[in-house]
Amino acid sequence: MPCRSEADASGGRPLRDLLMPSIQRGSILIALLAICLILSLMTPNFLTVANLINVARQISLNGILAVGVTFVLLTGGVDLSLGSLVALTGVVAATFAHPGDYPVVVPIAMGILAGTACGFVNGTVVTWGKVAPFIATLGMMTIARGLALLVSGGRPVSNMSPELTRLGGELAGLPIPVLILLVVTLAAGFFLANTRMGRHVYAVGGNERAARSAGISVPRVKLFVYTLCGALAGLAGVVLAARITTGQPNAGLGYELDAIAAVVIGGTSLSGGVGGVGGTLLGALLIGVINNGLDLLNVSSYYQQIVKGMIIVGAVWLDQKTKA
């Protein structure tokens, strides 16, 4: 793979470019707008302010996870433990969130901390242990699920303080999870564009050897991306727990695949080095719009799964075709 311009450690690029690399700014956006247009023609309930806010709220979890896993995919890795981490961190947060026990920051911090710790372990196993990311995070997927069941005793942890569940509510008419997603995406975009570590993430994914020769500490970069991904999974876990007012040890099944799908639809390459969080946000939006639209149209469960799969593959196929 040739050394890409993203790998250049010199000089930041405009934020806009990193949020949405020009290559896929077009096609995914067009696909998204086309689907929106079709949906608004098919049902009057799609293009309303209330429903659009609704869609934004529904993609917020997947969006937060997808931003985290964008970093990992950019380095050419993968993280399969996200869904289990969401369950574990949600249960941990809920355990500390019984009314009157601790101030509301404690459950939030504990949830994020648990995710960060698991992400750090992922990163350590991948870098120090040199275990392939697929295997390392597959292991964490099972371990974290087991821990979630252990911590909760196999049953949902309920009786959550209203201070924490408010996190799943609204602020000035906008759902708080959406605001969190926006902050996370902007911060991640800024970070990737304007910090040395951000550029190193691209460099490692673009060409690991070249990055190493250029004096970049590859293990440090990898450790960083897995830890960050874990931390964001922790944040998502806390938000989910707040939204559904319990910590569910069985929550989050398959979330990692939705997140990876959003990233890939958004134009980030599975082999690393190319992409950005802006595309990821569009990818998450595309999946969210499809889910919402199929529900609004009352499409049967069986067809929904088929249609979703076809649209995901189709979107990526279209994207590759326009690139070629």
Binding site: L61, V78, I143, T246, A251, L253, S271, D295, S301
Partner: protein
């Protein structure tokens, strides 16, 4: 680099050996931590069973999935009943795998247990587990769900009844007229099929009830919440009642309804009577749930197995009835 997540690097033979050793160290370390936890747990649980006096009858139990709250309740009531009746239980978790369940039945046969209680994973795929036990002359009691192979006895509930009770309650609340939505469980599972059948039976008898939409949320609270949010967009004014095939999904729908300000205009009914659901009924948030008696099923299964061992007559099918739970009678279901 295309499949770079499979291999972390292109490295020479020596480095790969070194990496292999490193990986092994990490793996063994993790495995030991894992086993440490596992062993402690097994010790504390096993102490009740394995060290009891010999001569006690032994019953091998294979449970569907100990990470489900409902099955945990069955497990607990079985242990209590076994202690009272003076039998020893060997409890295995099949973790939703019918193949594992068959292996467990086979090792029960090899251990020479006196009876087997099976909480089947699947109607068809778990049938060989029943056959293995019966072929070895060991009585088999199925609990909670059925298999195609006929066991010595079955203890459980008729899932259709729960769907019927829930929908009848909705019909009564709406005066037999209005728009209803149904949130389905995991499509194709026995509970989903039967609860849907029970609900549709009532819908057929009540022409005034219109099913506006039905969709799966895979027994999951978060999915049900999103689904309900979407339905409120498309059918908001028409929806007068929601039937969710379990309480988790009913809670999700309820949260969506409460957060968007529709509460008070939509009747929400679930099934299972989980702790959260009962509290919500008591607080007047959830209108009703249907109580499936997990403890009764577990206890009766052990009692039935013991009676078979004592040579006493038993019913071939014992049905533990469902009961509708509303704010009026919720107190008797709360722990």
């Amino acid at each position: 680099m295309v499949f770079s997540f499979w291999e972390s690097d292109n490295v020479g033979w020596e480095t790969s050996v070194r990496n292999g050793v490193r990986g092994l160290v990490v793996f063994l370390g993790l495995a030991m931590v894992g086993m440490g936890c596992g062993c402690n747990r097994a010790d504390s649980e096993g102490s009740r069973g394995t060290e009891s006096e010999s001569g006690q009858p032994v019953i091998g139990v294979s449970l569907l999935n100990l990470s489900s709250e409902f099955i945990v309740m069955i497990d607990r009531s079985m242990r209590e009943a076994a202690e009272e009746l003076g039998v020893r239980l060997v409890i295995n978790d099949a973790q939703r795998s019918a193949a594992r369940q068959i292996q467990q039945a086979e090792s029960f046969v090899a251990q020479g247990v006196d009876a087997i209680i099976l909480n089947p994973c699947e109607v068809e795929a778990s049938s060989p587990a029943v056959d293995r036990g019966l072929a070895a002359g060991i009585p088999v009691v199925n609990v909670n769900s059925e298999t195609r192979s006929r066991p010595t006895a079955f203890v459980g509930s008729r899932d259709e009844e729960s769907g019927r009770l829930a929908m009848e309650y909705i019909a009564e609340r709406l005066g037999g007229e209005g728009g209803v939505v149904m949130i389905q469980g995991y499509m194709g599972q026995a509970a989903q099929i039967k609860r849907e059948a029970g609900a549709r039976e009532v819908l057929d008898q009540q022409p005034g009830l219109r099913l506006l939409a039905d969709q799966t949320a895979e027994w999951d609270r978060a999915q049900a919440m999103s689904l309900m949010e979407n339905w409120l967009q498309s059918h908001g004014d028409e929806i007068e009642a929601v039937f969710a095939q379990n309480d988790e999904m009913a809670m999700g729908a309820l949260l969506a309804i409460e957060r968007s300000g529709w509460k008070g205009q939509i009747v929400v009914v679930g099934v299972d009577a989980i702790a959260d659901g009962l509290q919500a009924v008591q607080a007047g948030r959830l209108d009703a749930t249907v109580f499936q008696d997990a403890a009764g099923q577990g206890r009766t299964a052990v009692e039935t197995a013991v009676r078979i061992l004592r040579g006493e007559p038993v019913e071939e099918e014992v049905f533990i009835p469902f009961r509708l739970v509303t704010q009026e009678n919720v107190a008797q279901f709360l722990p």
